[in-house]
Point group: C3
Chain length 468, copies 3
């Protein structure tokens, strides 16, 4: 089967192919460092079996859903739950529809990940199609009942050394508490993502901010009290393994207001007397506050800027978020981060890892900035760009100005557990291919390439996230 | 001759070259689907001989004119007519000047198209130069007198299955009427391009809008009347073969105003009491209106956004439009289309094909959007980007997020009849080269590559434009 | 040693490699044309020995300093002088630190340039590292004492036919006067860069503008007087070999105000009653004024737009400018140059060479604009993009729309004398590699490739800067 060819993704021409083939075996089986992602901590806490193939591969994977939708398939027929509770297709029906349309994924990373997962987890090498839909479904279903496919067993088999989940500021961290109790914490960690209490335009913001105050015993009506609430929650999150915070923001804007201006801004926000500019200013100031807290407590700060969320209002109303309607937009990191970096950019204890969906940032902004500020590193290609061509464009445009050592290695950023080894494998293959091309052009020595392949496959992520 | 090498544009290295060479013969001779372009319908209606080589290759080709101009040659010497009627060089003199400077086109798609046209239509394999200028001119001139080079014969020889011209809303469609009468309509079709009555800042807009009302018997002073006028003209255009509308707009902005706001906007525009913001809002609202009409009548909507027109005011004044002074600009499709897509994006009968001159849109906006909205497809690389490297960047940045099946195949978008087979050939070669590289990297199976090569060379355009 | 491999940077695969290898020897030893750069004219006027290795390779090279800083090394430890005069590391200590961290430069152009310089100037082929730090330092130090490494000897050995330095409008041109006296002027030339008297927000602007008036005997309180002062200084600069002016501006904006508006603007600026919009307008109008003067006197105008200067305010305060804190930003050349080009774009005596740090400009704006306006050419990749991948992206995105003959060849734009041959060599290798790939794909004949390789390596820069 082509999609399982041992040389897949390697350069097709010599000498680059042979060099990639020489580099790859040394990194292929290194443990996986997964410092950023969206897997469900309940899986690891409870270690229960996955319910069925559609629930594993289809319904939670917005990459897959969106592509099927884009070719006219309805979310009802794909079994995506509705808010109004009206019935949607059952798992087996949805699976068949998915299988019949699997040809649409030719050339997409989704196909790469799914093909890899089917083989890696279930030993399935047939191509998914109408013909194979039922037999593959049944094989998966049977395998899910075995201990080898319980969540913790999957982490073992994938050699996941550490994996971070992501929780909002108000999250009770129930599952992490359970893992603390049974000694599994550490391998699984949380990440502090306070978007729920940092963005005034999110529905329910005011209520959550008040809960935030109650939860921490701080007066969130005072700017310092609100910041202190974050300080306390960050401490709690660290107790549950967090080494990092994460911030999903529409723009990269940051601000550095005087104390009196901050309080006035908070007053306006709490009173409801504010417009979009104040909301943006609030988010912008909060980024700098988070940076200042990171200087204090050493947590690594991650910035994921530029997703335009829920661009299909009818879908949002009908079924909710994270169903494929988020679209990238332009980001301006140079102007956006000016305030934050002027304040914290040279702090020895500070680390900020940047992610973008706007590839024009790579060579123009991120590489030059990471090649200057001691606190800055650049995260791997994010979302749509976590793909073979996306990784090539990233390395092409990043390495010359940022060097290899300002890159934060790889993170899989996924909700799909089985795609984790697949994604790391694509990254490692692409890194080996990239290095193979450069060694082939006599731009790097082979020994340097070996070092860098290992670094970018494993150590870079540990270093970047202070996991050593 | 290098430019006629049978393997031109294919990957130079193995195994990609052999795979491309295997794919290409299966698509090289497929009929041409030309759903969008700017050929003159009079050619096909009258089927008269082309006048002379300069009038065929030089004067109407703004790609060629602009390059010669950029190296200091004057439009007078190139025979480009002036508005003031002062004499310019005759065709033969201009042709010699063009030939003497043909070396300037090294590496440009213009050279690829012209070399291909000279060989394909005239059997000329010599390189155009001062030395060959006269003999090539005479051979072309002689051939143009033969029946083999009449416009309909060219369509036959090029295997053009269907070709769309583009007419403004007020166009009398005389030539299409003539073709209806003699049974040629259908192979040649019109396209509804109402820019002339949708953009308040175009000179003569008000007069045209009033003509539009008279022509349709609608009161264009009322918003609904104006929209009804479009409804009627669209129907007429469909009678003359139109399957699509086309919209050339400076930005991708769309709006979705309440009825009362629309009428107020129209009142301001008709009264002349409006500024650039209102003009932009009018264009933006008209895009959504056109989408709503497309939902009604099923015509495919094409959006060509981002050309900054006539950037050289002195040239515009001296000789008019379409002479090379149009330059691309940034486009924001995500925010721009929000209103239109929120309204019509999920309508089953709606199809919107997007084109851009801003390649940063490919991976960041167009591929993710086309990979989500059922109504959206992405058109092929447009204008400056309809070139070998342009096609490579397009496929590189589009396929992973949009898949192959959200692409609208190829369209040549040309005024130059003889460049049509040349342009389709470049597209087909590049598609085969692209697939050859991916098969070579074991990312696609060869059988999938065969399917996709055929699809993108022929069927995709038929499907996208509902020409089946 | 890999970094000195004779085929370095050439395509790794055949046939492109052989073609590149065939093209390169014909251009490798052509003289160097250096029409834009920042070397110190004192070197060439005084022809004194360089002091020590750190002063040659480390302290003045912001590319090197910034990368070391980005990985946590302090500028104190790297011997970068402080404004407060507090002690910093001595040259030898700094050199050792640099050597120990040289592995950070893997994959960067800095390493390419330094490795090449060490070999070319000093015959050193060992890799710089902790182990080799001292021995390499001593070999360099010893060599610097020899006549072969005096500045003028370096120009001879590098076959520098002509090199331009860059001086501000008020510069006394002392060193160029000395070179005029001893007959060296002409090989070394100045360039008129009036940023110091064109940008109101630069510290000390008002004082300098008054000095400018005194120096030229013009009344700078009147717009025409101020312009006349430029006219006179341009004449003086031409006497000292200047063929070009250079303009470093944050944006590409230009304006074309009426005389009365210009005077009002100057009045506001001189009175100090103005905001950022007026400062931008002043810079914008000055660009058009410089273009009009260029029409008059034939000096080539260079525009370097888009650097965001001194983004680290604490570094600026502590140690000053040009230490790595300048970051690229987006540029809009289409709208920005509209006023200037409408006024001067078709003037036969006018030439404007554009440079950008925003690679999205290449295919979208610069190539189309250069392929239209007779006055426009595009400069080579600038700054962060003067690198192997940067050059590839540039040629990939520029050639098809601009052709080869609207490119201004190469310029090294460096402060680092020894990097000059290294930088030209990278350009020439990349040009040969690019042409090798295209010949390999049968897109160019080999004879055309030979012509273009020579043109882009040597003649293009002479032509573009009117140095013939």
């Amino acid at each position: 089967m082509t999609h399982l060819h041992p040389d897949r993704l390697f350069p097709a021409a010599e000498p680059a192919q042979s060099i990639a083939r020489e580099l790859y075996p040394e990194v292929a089986d290194l443990p996986l460092i997964c410092p950023h992602g969206h897997t469900d901590p309940a899986w690891f806490a409870k270690n229960e079996r996955f319910s069925n193939p559609a629930a594993l591969f289809l319904t939670p994977d917005h990459y897959v859903l969106r592509m099927l939708r884009s070719r006219g398939l309805s979310y009802d027929d794909l079994g995506v739950p509705r808010k109004d509770g009206k019935p949607v297709a059952d798992g087996r029906t949805a699976w068949r529809l998915f299988a019949a349309n699997y040809y649409l994924f030719a050339g997409t990373p989704s196909k790469t990940w799914i093909d890899h997962s089917l083989q890696w987890a279930f030993g399935i090498e047939e191509e998914l199609s109408s013909e194979t839909a039922d037999s593959i479904c049944e094989r998966i279903d049977a395998a899910l009942a075995t201990p080898e496919l319980l969540p913790r067993a999957i982490l073992d088999r994938a050699k996941v050394e550490v994996i971070a989940t992501t929780e909002f500021a108000l999250d009770p961290l129930t599952h992490h508490q359970a893992m603390e109790a049974d000694g599994y914490l550490g391998r699984v960690r949380t990440t502090y993502r306070p978007d729920d209490v940092c963005d005034p335009i999110r529905a329910g913001f005011h209520d959550r901010l008040h809960q935030f105050g109650e939860l921490t015993g701080e007066s969130i009506g005072k700017w310092d009290g609100m910041i202190n609430a974050h300080r306390k929650r960050r401490e709690i999150f660290r107790r549950f393994g967090a080494v990092a915070t994460d911030h999903g923001v529409p723009t990269a804007n940051t601000a550095d207001l005087a104390p009196i201006e901050k309080q006035a801004l908070l007053d306006r926000v709490l009173s409801g007397q504010y417009g979009p500019e104040d909301a943006e200013l609030f988010r912008a100031q909060m980024m700098t506050e988070m940076a200042m807290l990171a200087v204090e407590d050493g947590m690594v700060m991650q910035l994921h800027a530029g997703a335009r969320r829920n661009t299909d209002p009818s879908l949002l109303e009908e079924r909710g978020t994270d169903l494929g309607g988020d679209i990238p937009s332009r980001v301006n990191y140079v102007d956006g981060l000016q305030a934050l970096l002027s304040r914290c950019g040279n702090e020895p204890n500070f680390r900020l890892i940047l992610f973008t969906l706007d590839e024009t940032n790579y060579a123009r902004e991120l590489a030059p900035m990471a090649g200057f500020w001691p606190s800055l590193m650049v995260g791997p290609p994010w979302w749509f760009h976590d793909s073979p061509q996306g990784i090539r464009r990233y390395l092409d445009q990043m390495v010359e100005s940022a060097g290899f050592y300002n890159l934060a290695g790889f993170n899989d950023d996924t909700r799909a557990l089985l795609s984790i080894p697949a994604r790391h494998d694509v990254w490692r293959r692409e890194v080996c291919g990239f290095l193979g091309r450069w060694v082939g052009e006599n731009r790097l020595s082979k020994s340097t390439a070996h070092e860098i392949a290992r670094h970018l496959s494993y150590q870079a992520a540990k270093d970047a996230y202070k996991l050593n």
